[in-house]
Symmetry: C2
Subunit: 547 residues, 2 copies
Amino acid sequence: MTATDLTLRPFYWRATNLFPEKEIVSRDSDGTTRYDYREFGERTETLAGALSALGVELGDRVGTLGWNTHRHYEAYFAIPLMGAQLHTINPVLPDNHVEFIVNDAGDDILLVDPGEPFETVERLWDRLAGVREVIVMDDELPETDIECVSVYDELVANADSFEWPTLSEDQPAGMCYTSGTTGKPKGVEYNQKMIYSHAMMVATPSAIGIGESDVVMHVVPMYHVNSWELPFSTTMAGAKQVYPGPSPSAETLARLIEEEGVTLTAGVPTVWINLLDYLDNNNADISSLERIVVGGSAAPRGVMRRFKEEYDVVIEHAWGMTETMSIGSVSRSKSHMQDWDRDERFEKRTKQGLLSPGMEMKIVDEGGNELPWDGESVGELYVRGPTVIGGYYNRPQANEASFDGDWLQTGDIATVDEDGYLELVDRSKDIIKSGGEWISSIELENKLMEHDEILEAAVIAVPHDRWRERPVACVERKQQSTLQEDAVLEFLEKAYPKWWLPDKVIFIEGVPKTATGKFDKKQLRDEYENTDLPQTPGKDDETGDND
Amino acid sequence: MTATDLTLRPFYWRATNLFPEKEIVSRDSDGTTRYDYREFGERTETLAGALSALGVELGDRVGTLGWNTHRHYEAYFAIPLMGAQLHTINPVLPDNHVEFIVNDAGDDILLVDPGEPFETVERLWDRLAGVREVIVMDDELPETDIECVSVYDELVANADSFEWPTLSEDQPAGMCYTSGTTGKPKGVEYNQKMIYSHAMMVATPSAIGIGESDVVMHVVPMYHVNSWELPFSTTMAGAKQVYPGPSPSAETLARLIEEEGVTLTAGVPTVWINLLDYLDNNNADISSLERIVVGGSAAPRGVMRRFKEEYDVVIEHAWGMTETMSIGSVSRSKSHMQDWDRDERFEKRTKQGLLSPGMEMKIVDEGGNELPWDGESVGELYVRGPTVIGGYYNRPQANEASFDGDWLQTGDIATVDEDGYLELVDRSKDIIKSGGEWISSIELENKLMEHDEILEAAVIAVPHDRWRERPVACVERKQQSTLQEDAVLEFLEKAYPKWWLPDKVIFIEGVPKTATGKFDKKQLRDEYENTDLPQTPGKDDETGDND
C-alpha cells in the first residue's frame, strides 16, 4: 500500500534539509565544537563513506564505546543509515563484560573515545579477535601498540561521501546490552522500524513531546539505551542539540543550560540532585530550562519540589527498560487534574505515569492473573507494543523466562491506580517477600531519603528463617550527622506498619552503584546477607491472620 | 526484533483504558449525544460483534456514507480493529460516482446515515449488487423498500462484545477514493501500519501536535480522507472530541466551540470565512480556540489576519492529498523567526510550510530534473514516505502516470524557499501555460479575493492561438457591489506584470464547487473555454525576450 518503509532516512533528511542552520553543540576534552545540521550531514555522509571503505556492509555490526559528543552522534546516523547496526557499549563496565559483549555481538569495527574507553580496548585487545579496526573518536592518533587504529576526524575529512541505500524497515539498526546485574549481559536488537516508531512516539505530547523550538541537552549516556533514544526524536524535530561530553560536572551542565538556552534534558536523579547542590552555592541562570525527564529511579520528592518552586522546572518521571527502548511511560497531570490541589497533583506526578502511545500493559499476580487498577494491587508489569522487543539476541532460555506470548514480563513490580497511572513498587528481584506479603524496598528507600540527615539509602532483603526475607536498611548519613538506628526506625514508623520496618539499619559510606548509576543492591546483598537479625515481628504478629 | 505490529489496537486501548472518562460530544439531527471513551469502547466492541454476526470477516470491506457523528466514529475503530477495511464514501458525490465506488471497492456492507445518504443508496439499490446489508446509523428504521436494512443502535444494543484479534500491520484498514475531477475516481488503500504511522506523526509538534488537553472538533468531513485522519491521533492522545454532525452551520460551530471549549479544529477556508462572518454579527465566545488547521486551498490573508488579531486564533496552513493520507506539511514559524517582524513571519505562514516528519520531497521540472530551493523555481512536487501510497487500487495505468519509483508525482506545482517552506503555486492541471511561462491561477485568485468587493474568484486557463493559454477570471461580487472589469484589472496590475492579467473578467453568481468544497474549475472551463478573448500582451510583448 505504501512504497516506503519506516527507516531513519527521512529523519536525517528532515534535519539536514529543513533545518540546515540549526546548531549542534558538543563538549569534549578539547573544548566546545559548534556546528549545524548541514555540517553534521556532510560529516555523517563521509563517516559512512569511510566505514564503507573499511569494508562495512549491510548487516555488519559496528560497536561504539564513547561519551556524549558530536562524533558519537554522527555515528548514530551514519551506521544505521548505511544499513549497518549501531552497537553502543557501556565503556565503564567491568572488562570481562565489555569483552563478552563485543564478542557476543561479533562487532568487527569499534569506534572508541580516547582515554578510558580506548585504554579498555587496549587491555582487552588480545581477546577481541573479531575486531578488524579501531577508530579513535578524536583528531589525533594516541600512542598505542594496536596496529589497526585510525583517527576519526582524518577518516571523515578524507573519505568520499556515501549515498544512503533504500533499506528495509526490518533491517537491524541498533543493539544494546542490558546491564546484567544478574548473570551475563543480554543483547537487545532494534530494527529501523522500532527506532522510527519510538522516536515518533517520544516526540508526541503524550510521551515527552519534542518540537523544533526545544533545545535538548543529552545527559543520559549515549551507551545507555542510546541516550534513551532521544537523539533520534530530536533530529526528526530539527531541534538544537547539546552533547555535554565525558562526565560533565554539575557546573558544566549549569553552564551549558545557561549558555545554550537548554529547554529539555533527561537523566537519572543523582545528576539533578548534584545540579541543585551546585545551584545552591553558585550563580547560574537556568531560566530557559522547562523540563527534566527523570528515569532509572524515582527523584526524591524534595528535589522535585525544589526544582518547581525555586526554578520553575518540572521534573517528569518516566519509566522504561532496554527492552522497551527506554521511554515507555511518562508522568504528567491529566487536564482535569488542573482543578486538584497542588499536593494531589504532585502525588500523581511522583508516579511513573501514563503508558506511552503504541503500548499496552497489565499487572499480574504470581499465578499470571490480571490484577485490578486500584492503586493497591501489586503485581508484575507486563507490556507489549511495537517498541518492545520480542526476544533477546541468542538467548532462548532468557526468552522463555521473560516473555508470555507477545507480552514482555518486565520484572518490575507495580501498581496501577484508577486514573491509569503506573507506579513502580520495586524490581521483582529487590522486593522483600516477608511472611507471604511484599515489602517495597524502593518505597522504604525513598522515605528514608526524605530524612534531613540521610544522603542515600538502599534497602535489601536478607534471608530469614521464619519470614523468608526481612528488610535491612543501608544508610549513608550526611556529613556531621550522628543519626542512630532508633531515630531512623522511629522516622519510618510514622509512615509504615511495624512489619515493614527494617530489622537492622547499617550505616555505610556511600551506596555502591552499577555502571549505569543505579544502586548496586547485588553488592550490598552479597556483603550483608549473613547479617544477624534480631527476632522481629512479621506480618502475622501485627494482623494475626497469617501463618 | 519486536513481537508486535503497528496496528490501531494500542490507540484504542490507550483511550479506553487511560482516559475512560474523557468526553466525546456528537451532534445529529436528534440533538446532542455525550458520552465518554468507556462507553465509546463498549459500543465499538458490540458494533464489531454485530458486524461479525452479519458475516464480516478479516479483509472484508465495509463502506460508510455518513456525516461527522459518534456512530461514524465508532465505525472508524470497530471496522479496522476487527481486521476489516473501513471504506469511507462521500455521500454528496453524483450518483454514478457512488455507484462506481461501491462496486469498484466491492463493499458488501454499508453503514449509511439517514436522510440524503440513505436516499442515495435507495436510488442506486438495484445497481449495488454486491451489498448484502445496509445499516442505518440511527435509532430507528426508515420507511424503505430495501429488505436487508438494520438499525445501528439496535445492533449495538443487542450484539455480543467482540474480542480484537491480533492483526498484521499489513492488513488493509482504510480505503478512500480521490474526488476524481478528471476521469473515474481512483481508490487508495491504507493498511494498519500507515494509519498508525500517520496518526503518530500528526500528533507530534512537528506536524499538528495533539495532546490530551486538546479539545478537537472534527469539521473536515469524515468521508474526506477520514476527516484528515484526525480521529485516529485524537484517540491515541486521549483528547476530548467534538463531532458536529451533518452540515453544521457557522452558528453551530461557534456554539460548539464556546460550549465544549474547543482548542483545535480543521477544515477548508470557506468554513472559517463563514464563521468569521457569523462572529461579526453575533456574540459568541471562542476564546478557547487556539488553532485552525486549514487545507484544501489557501485561506485568504485577510481571514488569517482577522482571526489572529481579533480572536487570537492561529490559522495554520497544511498541505496533503488522499494519496498522502491528508496532512503532509504544516506551516508554522521556525523558532529563529520569532525575531522577524510580524509581516515577514506572516508571509512565511501563508505558505504550505514544512514537510511533516517521515516524508521526503523534491520539486522537479518537466524533464524530471530536481530544482533548487530558492523560492522562485517552479516545479512539480514529488513526495515519498511511509504515509504516502505506493499505488492506486486496481489502476495500473494511473500508477504509471503518477509514480516514479517510490516517489509520488503529486500533480501539485510548487516552489520551496531557502528555509524549506513549500508553497503550492497551482495544480498542474490548473496552471496557465502562457507564452512558455507559467501563470499561477491560485495566486491570481487569492489576490482577487483580497479585494473588498469580491466574495469569491476562480481563474481558469482558456485556449489561445498565439499564447497557448490565457487566464480568465470568474468573479463573484459581494452584494451591492457594482465593481467593473477595468477596476478589477487595475487592482491586479499593482501586484503583477501585465502578461499575468486575465484577458477577461466574467462576473458570475457563485463559483461552482466540487463535492469536497473545492472550486470546480473543470465546470468553469467547460462553460467558458470558447470565450472570445481580445488581442492581449503575452510574456514577450513585455520583456521582448520570447518567441
